[in-house]
């Protein structure tokens, strides 16, 4: 029997597989298709203080080996999230952990959302989204070291729940941002959000995406995500949730060996919702074959020494 259990963010995880923010709604939408009780958890669609309308269509399109999206963080806002979405999570997800993805225009916006949620039930902690490429100020905090430091320390004062920062890949040195998160009291990192990109319809000579640019996700970004996870791992002792292009157990294990304790699956869910459980089972089979507990594989990639 493979041992996939890990103690991360102060709790026990039965599975390393989570569903990524923006791809699993508020959990309820996939309840008929994915046995949520068998996986590690879900990360909700971003929650902002006020409702957000989102971007004009087209919002999604296929790109080679993946997709581009520019949803624009459309969401119901904090009050409606607490009233309409959180009760379902509290009632139905007892085994799978829930992280709430939080977004804001300013540090005080983020602070208000975290403060507003903190006394509620039905979730474990927060994934702080400082890395959305599809809104004007989406990566402001993720690409400015001092703004990031201020944000993380501010939020640390507001909550004692796990505080996980979702990093953007769009920086020269992700290790710098990983260290800033650690130094200012974060509990973990999600690496990575989407890469900014663009798709042009050559017949129309117009961008396909209504927002002009969007975030690239899917198998095409797997090696970049694995690399950035490894880079972040070398810079910080914080637990990392690996994200980007995972569609198989082998993909997930690449992230684990690069240094991720947990992983998130996103775009692949749209292709086949069964992928979440298949990755979980595949990782279990690998651990059984390797006669190794999952926790002992984290960061276990062997880098050959050069002459």
């Amino acid at each position: 029997m493979a041992d996939l259990t890990q103690s991360v963010f102060g709790v026990e995880w039965q599975s390393p597989v989570l569903l990524a923010s923006g791809t699993c709604g508020y959990g309820e939408e996939y309840a008929d298709l994915i046995p949520l009780a068998e996986i590690g958890g879900i990360v909700t669609k971003a929650v902002s203080l006020e409702p957000r309308p989102g971007n004009p269509p087209h919002r999604v399109s296929e790109t080679p080996g993946g997709m581009i999206n520019a949803i624009g963080l459309q969401n119901v806002g904090l009050a409606a999230f607490i009233r309409e979405k959180l009760p379902w999570l509290a009632e139905n997800l007892s085994r799978a952990r829930v992280l709430i993805n939080v977004v804001g225009h300013s540090a005080s916006d983020f602070e208000a959302v975290v403060a507003g949620l903190d006394g509620e039930e039905g979730f474990l902690g927060y994934e702080i989204n400082v890395s959305c490429p599809n809104v004007k100020d989406g990566t402001l905090f993720g690409t400015d070291p001092s703004a990031l430091a201020d944000l993380v320390s501010t939020l640390r004062r507001v909550t004692s729940r796990p505080l996980i920062v979702k990093l953007t890949p769009n920086v020269p040195d992700i290790g710098l941002y990983a260290r800033i998160c650690e130094d200012n009291g974060a509990d973990g990192l999600s690496a990575i959000n989407t890469f900014p990109g663009m798709l042009i319809d050559v017949e129309q000579r117009r961008p396909v995406i209504g927002n002009v640019s969007g975030g690239i996700s899917g198998p095409a970004i797997l090696p970049m995500g694995v690399y950035l996870t490894w880079r972040a791992r070398r810079s910080t002792g914080l637990p990392i949730i690996g994200i980007g292009g995972i569609r198989s157990a082998e993909d997930a294990l690449q992230y684990v060996l690069a240094g991720a304790s947990l992983v998130q699956i996103g775009t692949a869910l749209f292709v086949d919702p069964e992928v979440a459980v298949e990755v979980h089972r595949g990782v279990a089979a690998y651990c059984a074959r390797a006669e190794s507990a999952l926790r002992d594989l984290v960061g276990g990639v062997m880098i050959p020494e050069r002459e």
Partner: protein, 259 residues
């Protein structure tokens, strides 16, 4: 309406129906048993490969019935649909469905289906479904040119209804736009599916003549089940609403139309 099912479905039959246009029948008893006209399925090739179509594509259910099969109208538009068009009997595709809101067919007045291009698909199912219960709907069907016209004999075989065909260049059926076949004085209930300019024209007519109109819309789609919020259209009150779960069938008055 049934809950969505994930199903690796085997292709039973592929028939050529017009230029770059195919009628595909799949063995999918679960979806066939619960789908209603106007609903759709996501059609993909699974995660074993990453070339187009990597993301599944939404297709109106073109037929579903007691013989366990789901019928789809497939036209080649881009690399993804071209690849799907190469599939043959015995190949499998990954289906997710049935999804979305179906047409609500009124029983108190004549029903006229207004189809443009592949917008014909949901009305094949709807016309056949109505025909089984002894009701005849009128089917107005427009294409640009004759070579695009889905074989009328196949439409009649599938639905029991003879379509009234329009082509813009007059090379088949009646010459002109499909809109010209609507007789507002008979106060029909209009059901429409097709390119956006056609839907806009029908919506304008329905508003001017105070006719009831349901439209089935199409927008680029990610998940098909309401999580990604990719497939939005503008509501009458100006909000972006999801065509996958709140639609794809809307009362025309629920949507915002350019004036």
């Amino acid at each position: 309406m049934g809950r969505p099912i994930r199903d690796w479905a085997e292709i039973r039959e592929v028939r050529s129906a017009a230029a770059e246009t195919w009628w595909v029948e799949l063995d999918s008893p679960g979806i066939a048993a619960t789908a209603e006209p106007g609903q759709f399925v996501m059609v993909g090739l699974g995660l074993g490969q990453v070339s187009a179509p990597f993301l599944p594509r939404p297709f109106s259910v073109g037929m579903a019935g007691p013989d366990r099969t789901v019928g789809l109208l497939l036209r080649e538009f881009g690399s993804g649909t071209r690849r799907l068009a190469q599939l043959r009997e015995g190949d499998r595709v990954l289906l997710l469905g049935p999804l979305g809101r179906a047409f609500s067919v009124p029983s108190d007045r004549p029903v006229v289906c207004v189809a443009g291009g592949v917008g014909l698909a949901p009305f094949l199912f709807l016309a056949a479904d109505q025909n089984r219960t002894g009701r005849q709907v009128q089917l107005l069907y427009g294409e640009r040119t004759a070579d695009r016209v889905f074989a009328p004999s196949l439409i009649e075989e599938l639905t029991g209804v003879a379509p009234i065909v329009y082509t813009e260049d007059g090379t088949a059926g009646r010459s002109g736009r499909v809109l010209e076949g609507i007789r507002p004085e008979e106060a029909p209930a209009l059901l429409a599916c097709g390119p956006t300019p056609m839907l806009q024209a029908v919506a304008r007519l329905a508003q001017e003549r105070e006719l009831s109109l349901q439209v089935s819309v199409e927008e680029h789609m990610g998940c098909g089940i309401g999580t990604c919020q990719g497939c939005v259209v503008r509501s009458a009150s100006g909000e972006w609403i999801k065509s996958c779960t709140e639609g794809p069938v809307f009362d025309a008055r629920e949507l915002s139309w350019p004036t």
